[in-house]
Structure formats: C-alpha cells, structure tokens
C-alpha cells in the first residue's frame, strides 16, 4: 500500500514538474522545442524541374519588363497600403476602410500612376505594340486591386474606347489627349435600371432641335435611369450616353453621345441628377452611380458619328442602311472589354492557385503511419485532385487569353466576327472558372481562407460581378451557339465546306474513339482533339436538328432557339473547350524539347482529360463508353501525382510577386507570431 502511494505521488509530481521520467529535479528544462511545428519553405523542399522565368514567358507572353516596372511602382510607394506580416510586406487595398475611403484611395492611386507615366499612349498611340502594353499594365493593376482596374477600364476602355471607335477625327482631337491626362474623367452610361443585357431596349430618348443645333437627352421614366455607372457617383465629369435617337419622329435605334455631368469643380451640371448605387458585395473602390437626364441639351457635334450622323438641319444619315448591321458595327469595338475581363479572370485565378498551392506545400494535417509526421496537404491525392486540374485549366486559359489578345490587336474587318464570338466564349468560360477556382482555393486554405488579408476568400466578392458585366455569361454563350448555328446553316445551304470559328474539322470524317483507352492513348494530343471534335460536331448537328424540328412544328426561329437552350449550352462549352485545347497544343508546339515542354504536355493532358471527366455530355451522348470514362478518371489521378512534383515551379511561373499574394503563401507561423502582431 505504501509503495503504491509513493509511486502514485511520484507520478503526480512528475506531471506537475513536466518531467518525462522520474529523475532528479535539476535535469530536464521545462519546455522542449522539438514538438513545435516549424515552417519549412517550399523552395527548400521542392526541386524545380524547369526555370519558372522561362515558363512565365509563355504565360505572360508580352511586355514582361513593363509588368515588372509597374509592380515596382506599386511596391516602392506607400500609397498602396503596404502591410508588414512577419518578415514580409504585402500590398493590398485596405478593404476594411469605408466605401468613401476606398473610393478616395482608388482615385489617389489613379493619379499617382498617371503622374508616373503609366497611361502614356493609352489613347494617343494606336498600334499593336501600344495596345499590348496597355493590356499588360492593366493586368498588373488588376493583380493589386480589382476596383482600381475597373476605374481605369471605365475611363480608358469604355469612355476612351467609345471616343476612339464611335467618334471621328473631331472627337479624337478634342477628347483623347484630355482623357489620357485625366483633364476630363469619363464614364459610360449604357445600362439602365430596366435594361442591361438588352441594350437595344434602353429607354433613354434623344431628340434633335434643329433651331439650336442641339440634341436633347431625356430620361422619360424611372426604369430609364442609368444604373451601375462606374465613376459617376463621385468623380466623373463626362459620360458617353447611350440613347434611342428619334429624328423627325422616327426612331433610328441606339446611338452614343457625349454629355458633361460635372464641372471642373466637381459640381453636378444642371438638368443632371446623380445618386449613389450604394455599398456592394465587393468592388467598393468604384463609385457606381445612377444618372437621370432632364432634357439635357448638348451640341450636335457631341453625337459620336462614325457609323451614323445628323446634319445641322436635322437629317439622319448613315452609310449602313440595315439597323441590325448598324447596331452590330456599333457594338463591335466594345470587344476590348471582354478581352480585358477574360485576362483579369485568369490572373485572379492564378493568385488563388498560387496561394492555395503554396499553402498546401507547407501545411500538414494527420499522419498516415502511427507516430509518423503529419502529411503535407498536397501529398494527399484528394487535395491534388481539387487543385491540380484547376491549375491545368488556368494554364490553358492563360495561353488562350494571349492568343485572343494577339488576334485582337491585329484585327481586320474580316476577323471581327471571330473576335466577337471567341471573346464572348472566353469571357464566359474564364469568369465562371475564376469563381469556381476561388471557391475551391478558399476551401483548400481552410480557416485561413476566411481572413480578408489572406485574399483568396475576399476575392470571391470582388470578382463575382465578372459573370454579369460586359455581357451576362449565359447570354454570351447563347450568342456563341447562335453564331455556330449560323455557320452550320450557311454551310449546309450552300453545300460548301465549313469555314470559320475552327469548325473546319466538321469537313473531315467523324473521329473514332478507340474502345480501349490506354494511358499513352489518353495522353496523346490526337486522341484528345478527336474527342473534343467529336463532341462539338455531334452537338452542333443535334442542336441544328432540334432547332429545325421546333421550327417544323411551327415555332418561330427565335423561339425554337430559346427552346433548344440545353443543347446550346452544351455546344457553347464544347466550342470553348475545343478552342482552349487547340491553343494549348499550339503553344506547346512552340516550346523547344526539354523539361518545360514535358511538363506542359502533362498539363495539357490534364486539361483535356478533366474536361472529359467533368462534362456529362460525353457519357450522355455516348462519345465515351463507361469503360472509357473509367479509364479517363483513373488517368486523371495518375496525372495528379505526375504533376505533384512540379506544383511549386508551376505557380512560381505565374510571375506574381510575393508582395501580391498573402501571408499564408509564406511563413504563416512567423506572420501570426506574437512578435509580428
């Protein structure tokens, strides 16, 4: 009994004195450092199989030194909210500021960049090199802050773009330089409370007073008020106004005019009313406004007259007689918006992935072996499966985005239709991908993903709008399928081969999918393109057949199209993904043999096979058998483990400086330490 008591007392004593074993009191120190988690940077544990700066050349593709210059302008200024976390400094707007403060900071940053010469030539230089540089710089701005990029987008691409493309020489001479220098601050009043997607239905009305040589712009009812007008609530002095144009009692359709809404002192002009759209779920650095026009008079010269004009005595003149064609000519130049949004979606996806993947290379959870070390997140096949396919898609979209930019800056009247369709497809695809990607990345970062400073979660609110503005994604995809249908019908009617939109593969014999899919077949680009061709071909055939069947049943062409929406959606996706695969393969072909090319091949296969796995169309319409589908699924898992060793190099290749990621992508223990608080 006594022995038991002694032993028991000793055990309790040891607990209280934190000793491992009953030994003398002077021996062990109270704390041992071994049991603490240590941060190990991925750079030390993940060997690079290729130089990320070489891969960056393919991903960024143009103006890399200019991008680095602009990153430097941001990091060397205190205006961009530097925040020290541990041993690193991050640059990200303070989203905790009030809406008014965020808007003010955004405007301050615009003026700083102006002073540094960032916008030189954005409107006054018109050649492919200048345009590409403009895109590159806007992409970098977006990496820092979406609001700042939108503020610039509205002023330069929408207001400035409208002057460039809808206006003529007199407008260029009068407005472009002043816009570039921010002597005027522009915005773009197209959307109304009652009309967004259907621009042709807008209700603002403009008439002409031949006695005074003025146009009179009016908001006839509440639904006609302009809404969501970025820049209008606080800062803009001028706006492009989209309005129905009634000349001599005849509605000539939608036209664009210039109206001043504020004077140089910032006071709202007479007969203009402006209200604030208020706080949003994100993008609070942009001051969106509502605008009412109360019979506002503007000089006749303010009509942007590249497509149509009104003579001083009030005659409507246009070289394009068909109002549909005229409207299309009108809207064609606004493609640049879809292109910049597509690019911005991809860079945001890159930010999300860089953060989530870097975090998963340093965060451990659960051991597999008893008493073993906890396992790195990215060493789990399930974690790989969540992130690596998204990485492959982001790479594919990055290459495709660059291709789109290239054909845009070298555009000709003949290529406009393609650019319109491709930019619509890509804008929808990339922005939807961005949101899905951010959600997955946020979840992959666990609780840390909820901190605003860790960025990945907060970006969801900031970028959600992308699926809506500059064209609702669903509407855009419908337009894509409409365009493809038109090509189909034209080819069938004229009995000529398919030409345009990459549909030339329809002229070849129907591709055949082998019944047995081995690993090497699955990774072969010919098989992958065959599968995508097959899907697109069959869906286009089915879609055309269904539409014509509805028409045969008496439905109008428009309504038949509306009823066939499911096939239209499937087809739009098939077209998009096929274009993405083709540009990926084209990019891959330009890379010299070596480790970089090998990794790209892995990514390309991952892209192709994840599309095969995720699109139900392949099984629904029998392009793949159940065995095929099982083989695809297995191969995706294999590709995940093949890509795992390259994960760090692949996200480093994005070229996003550390300062524009977030603390969890680096030493998150040090960043949260008491000494860093």
């Amino acid at each position: 009994m006594e022995q038991q008591i002694t032993r028991r007392t000793q055990v309790l004593t040891n607990h209280l004195l934190l000793h491992g074993e009953p030994t003398s009191l002077s021996a062990a120190p109270p704390l041992s450092s071994n049991s603490c988690l240590n941060y190990s940077p991925p750079e030390l544990n993940e060997p690079l199989s290729f130089n990320p700066t070489d891969m960056r050349v393919y991903l960024d593709s143009h103006n890399i030194p200019d991008r680095d210059w602009l990153f430097g302008l941001i990091t060397q200024s205190r205006l961009f909210n530097p925040k020290q976390r541990g041993h690193k400094v991050f640059f990200s707007p303070d989203y905790n500021q009030s809406m008014e403060q965020q808007r003010e900071m955004t405007m301050k940053r615009v003026l700083y960049l102006l002073e540094k010469g960032v916008f030189q030539g954005w409107l006054t230089e018109r050649n492919p090199d200048a345009e590409l540089r403009k895109f590159a710089l806007l992409e970098v701005v977006g990496i820092f802050d979406h609001s700042l990029a939108i503020k610039l987008g509205v002023h330069f691409f929408l207001w400035g773009g409208a002057i460039q493309f809808f206006g003529t020489k007199r407008h260029h001479d009068k407005w472009l330089r002043d816009t570039e220098n921010y002597v005027v601050k522009g915005c773009f009043a197209m959307t109304e409370l009652g009309h967004g997607s259907n621009v042709r239905g807008i209700e603002t009305v403009t008439t002409y007073d031949s006695n005074t040589g003025e146009f009179v712009i009016n908001t006839p009812c509440e639904s006609a008020q302009k809404y969501w007008i970025g820049g209008a609530a606080n800062h803009a002095t001028h706006t492009i106004v989209f309005s129905q144009l009634n000349i001599n009692g005849e509605n000539q359709g939608v036209h664009a005019l210039i109206a001043q809404i504020r004077d140089a002192d910032g006071n709202v002009c007479p007969n203009i009313r402006i209200a604030d759209c208020g706080h949003k779920i994100g993008l609070n650095g942009v001051d969106n406004g509502q605008i009412w026009f109360d019979n506002v008079r503007i000089p006749r010269e303010n009509l942007l007259n590249s497509v149509a004009d009104v003579s001083p005595d009030g005659q409507y003149l246009s070289a394009i007689k068909d109002p549909d064609q005229r409207f299309a000519a009108f809207l064609a130049p606004l493609t640049s918006g879809r292109i910049t949004i597509s690019a911005s979606a991809i860079y945001t996806s890159k930010i999300g992935l860089a953060i989530a993947i870097r975090y998963s290379l340093t965060r451990r959870a659960f051991s597999v072996a008893p008493n073993g070390r906890e396992v790195l997140l990215l060493d789990y096949p399930s974690h790989q499966r969540r992130l690596l396919p998204l990485l492959a898609k982001t790479y594919a979209m990055s290459f495709a985005g660059n291709y789109l930019k290239q054909i845009y800056v070298k555009r000709t009247p003949e290529s406009n239709k393609l650019i319109h369709v491709l930019s619509s497809a890509f804008k929808a695809t990339f922005t939807w991908h961005n949101m899905r990607n951010l959600q997955e990345c946020r979840e992959a970062c666990g609780g840390q993903g909820l901190k605003t400073e860790n960025l990945v979660g907060h970006l969801k609110g900031e970028y959600d709008v992308q699926s809506t503005f500059e064209g609702d994604n669903n509407v855009l995809m419908q337009q894509v399928s409409k365009a493809l249908l038109a090509v189909y019908i034209a080819a069938k009617k004229s009995n000529k081969p398919f030409k345009g939109f990459g549909l030339e593969h329809m002229n070849n014999p129907c591709p055949v999918i082998p019944s047995q899919l081995t690993s090497s077949t699955l990774r072969c680009s010919k098989f992958q393109t065959d599968a995508f061709f097959l899907r697109e071909r069959d869906l286009l055939n089915r879609f055309a057949a269904e539409v014509s069947q509805f028409q045969a049943q008496g439905e109008s062409k428009e309504y038949a199209f509306i009823l066939s929406y499911q096939l239209a959606e499937d087809l739009g996706r098939a077209y998009s993904e096929r274009e993405l695969l083709q540009t990926f393969i084209q990019t891959e072909a330009t890379v010299p043999a070596g480790s970089l090319k090998n990794v790209l091949a892995l990514l390309r296969s991952m892209y192709a096979l994840i599309c095969l796995e995720e699109d139900a169309a392949f099984l629904r319409y029998g392009y793949l058998s159940m065995d095929n589908a099982a083989a695809v699924r297995k191969e995706v898992t294999k590709l995940c483990s093949d890509l795992r060793p390259h994960a760090l190099a692949l996200v480093t290749s994005f070229g996003i400086p550390d300062a524009f990621l977030s603390p969890i992508a680096f030493n998150w223990i040090d960043a949260n330490a008491w000494a860093s608080v």
């Binding site: 030390l44 700066t53 041993h87 300062a659």
Partner: protein, 344 residues
C-alpha cells in the same frame, strides 16, 4: 579567394563552436571587387566557360551568405564595391565607418550589377537602387547607413574594441549582437551634397519606364535648375554602355520581385551571355578603355540606347544555346531562420 571563403563559410556553419562570423578587409579596402582582368584573361586564353565557373562559385557564395544560419558581421572600413558588396551586403550585419566607399560601378565597364545586387539594390527605398545600379554612384558610410546598405555606423577608431566585444559575445542571437554593435555605433550626418538629399528627383526620374525616359526626365529637371549633381548623373548614364544600362534596369526591376536565389540564377545567365561576347563585346571594350589602355573612351557597340532593342535585351535573360551549359544550381539549404526564409 572565393573558393577559400566558400570553404570557410560552409565549415563555420556546421561548426557548433562558431557563433558568428566577422569579415573585414586588410588595408584601404574591405574588398574592391572581382578581378576583371583575370576574368578577361581566362576568357581570352580559354573560353568564357572558365569565367562562368568563377561566377558559379561566387554566386553560390552570395547565396550561402544571404541564407546563412549564423550572423555575419562585415566591417566595411574602406572600399566595398562589386564583388566586395556580394561578400558583405547579404550578411546580417554591415558596419560602415567614415572610411567606407560603396559602389556598383559595373555599367561603366560593360558589365551589370551582379553578385545578387539585383536583390539588394532593388530593396533600397524608392528607386534609389536603379540610381545606384545605373550610374555607379559612390556612397559614403553615412549614406550606406541611411539607405539600408549598412546596418550600423561605427567610427573607425572604435573598431578594435568592437571586434573584441563581438568575440566575447558567444551567442548567435542577432538581437544580442546588434545590441553590442549599437554600443559602439554613432549616428552619422549625411553630407550636404549627398545624393540622398535628392531622393525626390531620383524617385521622379529613375521610376520612368525606360532608360531613355530616365535620361529625358533628368534633362527636364536640369533645364529648370543648374546643378552639378544632375549633370554628373546624366553624364555617367551617357558614358555607360547602353546595353549594360538596359540589362541592369531590367535586372534590378525583375529582382525587386524575386527571391535572392532567383536573382542569382538570372544574373548567372546574363553573366554567361556577357562573357561569351556573342551578343555584344562591351565587356571587353569596357575593360580595354577603363582598365587596360585607360583612355576612358570606350566605343560601345551598339553605341546608342535606341539601337538596343527589347529583343536584344531579352536574349541576355534567356538560356544559353549551348549543350554543356546549365542554369546555376544553388546548394540545398536547411533550418533557415525566419529572416532568411523571407529572402527566398
């Protein structure tokens, strides 16, 4: 010397008896930099590959110093330029004195600021890094302290006492070491004519997008005020190799956004191209004009900034088209302190 330093630093890192490493020069200099003459000789007598080998070793040393597990205290009591900066600035503590003279003068020679300078210059305040790297301007000890190249300033007469105290410290704790150096430190004054008083102008001009625009911006400022400093600055830019200027600008700006390892890998590529002399022979012309014949009148080729295209500059940053060549491979490091991890 590089080989010997490498040996010693690697040994000291493992040796538990070594708590900190003190580095100092002998005589008037801490270290005036790499032996360019020897490098050129190697290249002329052998091949550029011999020169490349030297750079490989040197950059490896720079990387090890930048990620060293123990504190390094460099006593910069004299000239510290080029390679000398590479052997000291990456360390944890840099002690300047009234005798310090810092510079990265490479662009005048047809070279570019290397030894990880694209890392440490780019992290100076504002666009001071571009200014130093492009113009090769000299800084004294006080200026080094105020811009962050030096961590402490100790008058030279107190150096032996400082060394004694450091030898007694017997700790690797940077806080303790810093406190010891602080005891011998003094707050120096920046001279009136210092470039550091002109940070506004430097930031305004050296933040421009291209070398051409930097020079135009300086010339615009010069129109409004007659100033020795501005004309000297413009002159040093106009005398430097145009190719070197463009390479240096791009390298510093890219370095600002990268870890020290990536900076060294990039600089190694550029160095190999420069030594190979296929893209331009400015290194050899610079050596001839400044160090050999000393006529100080180098005939750069291309001779003007406008003749150096972006594509030409791109080539320096690309892989060498050579079967035996490979990118710089830096040694594996482990157990880095948090402050070194942040540099990766």
């Amino acid at each position: 010397m590089i080989s010997r330093l490498l040996e010693l630093f690697i040994a000291y890192e493992e040796d538990s008896n070594v708590k900190l490493v003190i580095v100092k020069g002998k005589g008037r200099a801490f270290c005036a930099g790499g032996d360019v003459a020897a490098a050129i000789r190697d290249i002329n007598e052998g091949t550029w590959r011999l020169g490349a080998k030297f750079y490989w070793k040197q950059f490896t040393l720079n990387y090890i110093l930048a990620t060293y597990r123990k504190p390094q205290v460099s006593i910069l009591n004299g000239v510290v330029m080029g390679g000398g900066a590479g052997a000291s600035i990456h360390g944890r503590f840099r002690v300047a004195t009234e005798n310090s003279v810092f510079a990265m003068p490479e662009t005048a020679l047809g070279l570019f600021p290397d030894v990880g300078a694209s890392y440490f210059l780019s992290r100076l305040p504002g666009f001071f890094g571009e200014y130093l790297g492009l113009t090769g301007t000299r800084l004294d000890g006080a200026e080094m302290l105020v811009c962050g190249l030096a961590t402490h300033f100790v008058p030279s007469e107190r150096l032996s006492l400082l060394e004694e105290a450091l030898c007694k410290v017997d700790s690797s704790d940077p806080a303790i070491i810093s406190a010891v150096i602080n005891e011998y430190s003094k707050q120096p004054y920046i001279k009136e004519k210092s470039a550091y008083h002109r940070l506004n102008v430097i930031d305004r001009c050296f933040s421009r997008r291209t070398v051409e625009e930097i020079i135009s911006a300086l010339e615009r400022v010069a129109l409004n005020k007659k100033d020795d400093w501005i004309s000297k600055t413009i002159q040093s830019l106009k005398r430097a190799s145009p190719t070197s200027l463009k390479i240096s600008l791009r390298s510093i700006r890219q370095g600002r956004l990268q870890g020290v390892g990536q900076c060294l890998v990039r600089e190694y590529r550029i160095a190999c191209h420069v030594m190979q002399g296929k893209l331009s022979k400015d290194l050899f012309e610079g050596f001839r004009a400044i160090l050999l014949d000393k006529d100080k009148n180098p005939k750069w080729e291309p001779s003007k900034l406008e003749l150096v295209s972006d594509d030409m500059v791109d080539s320096y940053f690309s892989m060498m088209d050579d079967e035996d060549w490979e990118d710089l491979k830096l040694p594996a490091r482990s157990n880095l302190p948090a402050y070194a991890i942040a540099k990766l």
